[in-house]
Amino acid sequence: MSEEPHNLTPDEKLEMLLSRRPDGDLDEREARELDERLAADGELRAEAGRYERLTRALQEIAAEDLAGVDYDAQRADILAVLERQALMRGGARRRVALRPVFRITAGLAAAAAVAVFAVSAWWMFRRVDRPVEGAATARVLPANAPPAEQVEVSVVARRLDWREAGLAGAQRQAAARQPNRPPAGTVLVSIGSEDAAPRPAAGAEAMFLEF
């Protein structure tokens, strides 16, 4: 007999009917036709009897072999282990069920906390000294350079604040002396801070960045 399903031979079909009969699995027509054949064939009746006894024995051995199982103890063991696991996980599977009003409150509180954090982070971040990155290139002009309509400037400095972005005192004076000063409104930026930048030597031409 093949181990895999295949088209049954007439004998196999008949035997399958015999094997299904104890399950009450036959439809009306199958049961009637089989009963007719059983009535006429003693050997077939013996075969049907074997299947019935086999089916009964299958039921009985399962019931007998498991008759002494203590299912309550089995369940208690399973639950005890799961409870221990839950404790060890810190009740990770447990969730707190909140009423709707508490859910809204908890949501608002969470949103407020996020907002406070974001503002604090922004405030702290803007105070951090950081390079200012310009997208353009810098052009260093000599003090007597003719005014240009536009100059691309990029300033990269470790420290850049209002003092440093303005002119150092000595440079401001030098700029005022320039015969061809840039037109009013032009922003001149010197690199370096008022305190830290080396002051131009007397007579030296100051270097300006012109915006």
Binding site: M1, E3, E4, P5, E15, M16, S19, R20, D23, G49, R50, Y51, R53, L54, T55, A57, L58, Q59, E60, I61, A62, E64, D65, L66, V69, Y71, Q74, R75, D77, I78, L79, V81, L82, E83, A86, G91, R93, R94, R95, A97
Partner: protein, 201 residues
Amino acid sequence: MSAITARKARTRLDGSDAELVRQTLRGALHAFDELVRRYQRQATAVAYGLLSNRDDAMEVVQDAFFKSYDKLGTLSKPERFGPWLLRIVSNLSLNRRRSRALRKAESLDFGDPADGERSAARPDPHAIRPEQAAGAAELKTILRREIDALPAKQRQALVLFSIEKLPQAEVAELLDCSVEAVKWHVFTARKKLKDKLKDQL
């Protein structure tokens, strides 16, 4: 627990499998306890049918419940907890059989030759003892041995359908095959058993 709370808890535990699964996922261990109560007998019978060893069956059932508890969140149809659990039991039982067979093979290959003599002296649990050599007892002893010797699919189909009386469609789902294939496997298994036990039936 007050009487009212206890009554409420009882009412909830009368719910469907799906409801119990949902409660378990919310952390209610008592809901899972109810699922264990509902399915432990069937799970044990299936494991025993596939393993023919009560201790192994009990261990497999425990493991299956632990696994199902851990994976409960992945169960897409909570109302199908029962078949899902039995599939886990069935798979774990087959794994256990494989590892058991492997251990047996290893002990045969590398064991102390004296073990063979000792085991020859030890009674084989499947061997027919003289006091059993009559009637129903003999039939059942041989039946256990022959069920154990069936190919996996036939044994599973036989246990789930003929012994545990699961619907064929459910067995087909568990075995990942068609209903026709289930019918075939059950028939083949029964025919083999009937032929082996011809003298006792």
